[in-house]
Subunit: 137 residues, 2 copies
DNA sequence: CTGCATCCCAGATGATACTG
DNA sequence: CAGTATCATCTGGGATGCAG
């Protein structure tokens, strides 16, 4: 009820009407917000930061196969969208700590549910893929 | 409690340990499952199909700015992961109906919560972006 | 109506080297 | 330590034309 005036059926049709009317990509909440957190590394980093704040190098070690470039860029994007707070400490050498903002923690609620679903149903998805590929042979 | 043996802290560290041990990309549930539904069009199509089954052309009209190629490919991928059922009717000309499977409906639960969060907080994210960009000037 | 094949481009990602 | 810059690469995605 709150903040969600439309039921599901009308929602998808409203998006269509918006698109038909020439509304830009950014006007569709689903695409605009979901795309911002659906990058290759975004969900993993938000998940890590949901636990506690981390420094740049710590995050890097926590996700061993991320490149320095992608770690910098993904954190930058998450910060721009308001999910992550970046704090610089003028030590020597300098250190930078990343943490979730209130908005980030709020978003992690639903995201966490999706992550838990993924963990519970990982094997089901893998089985479906295997079955599909086998049938295609 | 059910089906989720690890608390959040240990989870991210377990993923790291897995990666350190040389586990492949596909062994991380977060990446393997989340990536499959984080394509540019996946969430939108699942959202449409959660309402009711649709035919190919109907989906195309519902999402006006998707190309035929991407519609075919995204539906194919969703079917491969077990979220979507594809049924061909031998009419003339032929028609094909797409619908969510039980797994797809199950996955849409958490996804829907994320979508609702996106709708509720779309403006907050946009504001954060605007503020960030303004500060960078 | 539905779907596949081909060509092609822009953006996403990675590897490496360099800097405050 | 925490980046930035540059170059190379890989993939997603669009346009178009053909086919069952």
């Amino acid at each position: 009820m709150d903040g969600n005036v439309f039921n599901l059926k009308s929602k998808i049709e409203i998006y269509k009407a918006m698109a038909d009317a020439g509304a830009s990509f950014a006007d569709c909440p689903v695409r605009d917000v979901i795309q911002g957190i659906s990058g290759k590394w975004s969900s993993l980093l938000v998940m890590a930061l949901s636990e506690k704040p981390y420094r740049f190098g710590q995050l890097r070690r926590l996700v061993p196969d991320i490149s320095q470039r992608m770690l910098t860029q993904t954190l930058h994007d998450l910060q721009r969208d308001g999910y992550v707070h970046r704090e610089v400490f003028a030590t020597k050498p300098p250190s930078v700590e990343y943490s979730l903002t209130d908005l980030g923690r709020s978003m992690f609620g639903p995201l966490h549910e999706l992550i838990q679903w993924a963990e519970r149903n990982h094997s089901a998805v893998r089985d479906a893929r295997a079955a599909f590929d086998a049938a295609a042979t």
